[in-house]
Symmetry: C2
Subunit: 108 residues, 2 copies
DNA sequence: ACTACTTTTTCTATTTTTAAGAAAAACCCA
DNA sequence: TGGGTTTTTCTTAAAAATAGAAAAAGTAGT
């Protein structure tokens, strides 16, 4: 099962598409959650997912005009997509509860 | 931020209401996710959430006809409800993406 | 009442993940 | 060339997930 941060990161990679660089992703996560994330908090799970084959990296050496190391673009794999879909389906299932329960939660 | 299992457990406590005993919850989680969970996989996060004030426990000594120790019923607190709501809102926000991206994922 | 059995909880140990950030690498421009 | 900026690599510490043995408490049969 995907962890929370893994799910968020995979989704942000999909969303950013050609702009899916680690620091851009970090920005998106901050915006989404409202909380700043440490550098390791982004790279560590991203790299773990690369190792597992849920993401791939594509080096863009010097191509884009910028400072720093060769930027790495992240791309989601078929397996990554499958897991993300599965995760979303679990959530739909989870929250598919009787009206009364949902109201109790959402009106709290 | 709630972890995946914490969110599921809080939700199952809400759903089961008067039947929110650990082993019942374990059954529900298995049914929801399709995977069996170890005993510790249920009790450890439940107890952690009690310590944090997201759940409370109510002892029902001998009341219900059954074997074993006095059964413990779990109840969600106001703080637990708040976190669950927050978690749901984050998810709605996350998955609120352009149609094209959603399709790419859901049709994979 | 003693014993065997069932159910639920308590407790512990191991592995995995999260989290934070220092240090290194690569590039830019004066 | 040398100082400044950006991105990545690497390391460490804390928290969470996972698995399951052992203990507790009651029941039923003899």
């Amino acid at each position: 099962m995907l962890s929370k941060i893994e799910e968020i990161l995979l989704l942000m990679v999909c969303k950013l598409a050609d702009e899916a660089f680690a620091m851009q992703i970090r920005e998106e996560v901050k915006e989404l959650t409202g909380k700043p994330y440490s550098i390791g908090g982004i790279y560590v799970p991203l790299d773990r997912m690369v190792k597992r084959g849920w993401l791939t990296m594509q080096d863009l050496p010097g191509e884009a005009k910028r400072m720093g190391r060769p930027r790495r673009k992240y791309l989601i794999t078929a397996e990554g997509l499958r897991l993300l879909k599965e995760s979303h389906e679990l959530q739909s299932k989870m929250w598919n509860l009787p009206e009364g329960i949902i109201n109790k939660i959402m009106l709290s």
